[in-house]
Symmetry: C2
Subunit: 206 residues, 2 copies
DNA sequence: TCAGTTCTGGAGCTGACACTCCAATCGCGC
DNA sequence: GCGCGATTGGAGTGTCAGCTCCAGAACTGA
């Protein structure tokens, strides 16, 4: 049961648009200031809606947060297209790396990863959010895994390598790199983390 | 100028003990529920002190948070002794890895890294906290770097390897592994991340 | 057109939070 | 001991958070 299905019994076109506007505004604010640092009042103003509208579309703040998680997960995955899912060569992996680094540079290294930040903030205080975020990471991981599996199947990766484990490690390196990049306001950690990961993968090719 | 020096003009032995009790209680609570999720009231109760005592020792919540950061940084580094600073062989690195994984297992994979969690929560909202945390990560990174530099100097690592960059990548992998482990409630991500890092280092030995 | 539902505006409630204030007590240094 | 600053207790304050409520406007489907 997704967060989506928990809210919104029936929406007109206009209602859908309002709901989307709320989610978009909340996503932006929560990315910039964190979930706890974003009030429903802030969201109201940013989305240009009244108090009751937020509670018309979402049962409470938790429901809104879950909608934001769903939205941000999709945004993050979309931003990595068409790379994600086709990471089955070293060149594709390098291009993906460059995209991720560029994205952080464009953002002045602020905010880090929307999913990672929410995961860190909510995992211990909101079980529903934790599982939503775990699923989000799962989709991301799958996007990496597919490519590495293809390389493995094709024989480009050594037989004794576990591509699934390698994909998980790569996602972890990426997340850690994003965190350190956000704290240091410098892409060096992200670059070092991804380069080390990709060098490692390269060293496992046949 | 450290957070320490900003508070506490002159403390008696008793005052010192009270202050420490407040910081310890706040650290525990903020680790479990996050900074925003911890109220000064919670800290009061847990430390067994009155309202005025908190504001006697800390000018405001931010000052308390900075003291917590200093405390947690020290705790995290201490918990890795005597490994940290002596990570100059593959065996030492593997033993360190086992320690980190065991620690998460003991905690049922809850809470993740105190420094990483605070960094994620505070980087965008509290500049002083961000720099404190960046320094904390700097000390941690240095502990890893020293070992890899020793291996490099000794000729155990290939000449063309940059041990500083490798140390940064290793810390990133560790942080990402801790984050995913916290979200999934499973040590597999941490193990995969650290094993990949150490395998990579091993592949760079002469 | 009209009934029924969805959508919107905004006043207002309740609890909680960070923080203040002042008086009382403790204990260190002389 | 004695004085004075360090320490403590706890009531109180202002603000703001999340959320409720209700009346009216807008829209949909028949």
């Amino acid at each position: 049961m997704s967060a989506e299905e928990l809210t919104a019994p029936r929406l007109t076109r206009k209602g859908r648009a309002t709901r989307d506007r709320i989610v978009a505004a909340a996503s932006e604010l929560m990315f910039l200031r964190g979930v706890a640092g974003t009030t429903t009042d802030d969201v109201q103003r940013a989305a240009g809606v009244s108090t009751s509208q937020i509670y018309h579309y979402f049962s409470d703040k938790t429901a809104l947060v879950r909608a934001v998680i769903a939205h941000q997960t999709q945004e993050v995955l979309d931003a990595q297209q068409p790379h994600l899912g086709r990471l089955d060569t070293l060149e594709a992996l390098r291009a993906w790396r460059d995209l991720l680094v560029d994205l952080q540079r464009q953002r002045q290294c602020e905010g880090g990863c929307p999913i990672g930040s929410m995961a860190s903030e909510l995992s211990e205080t909101c079980p529903e959010a934790r599982t939503d975020l775990a699923e989000g990471f799962g989709r991301w991981e799958a996007g990496i895994r597919d490519g590495l599996r293809a390389m493995h199947d094709r024989g480009d990766l050594r037989r004794d390598v576990d591509p699934d484990r390698l994909a998980l490690a790569t996602l972890a390196a990426l997340q850690g790199g994003l965190l350190l990049t956000k704290v240091r306001r410098d892409t060096a950690p992200l670059e070092a983390a991804l380069d080390a990961s990709l060098d490692h993968i390269a060293s496992l090719t046949t």
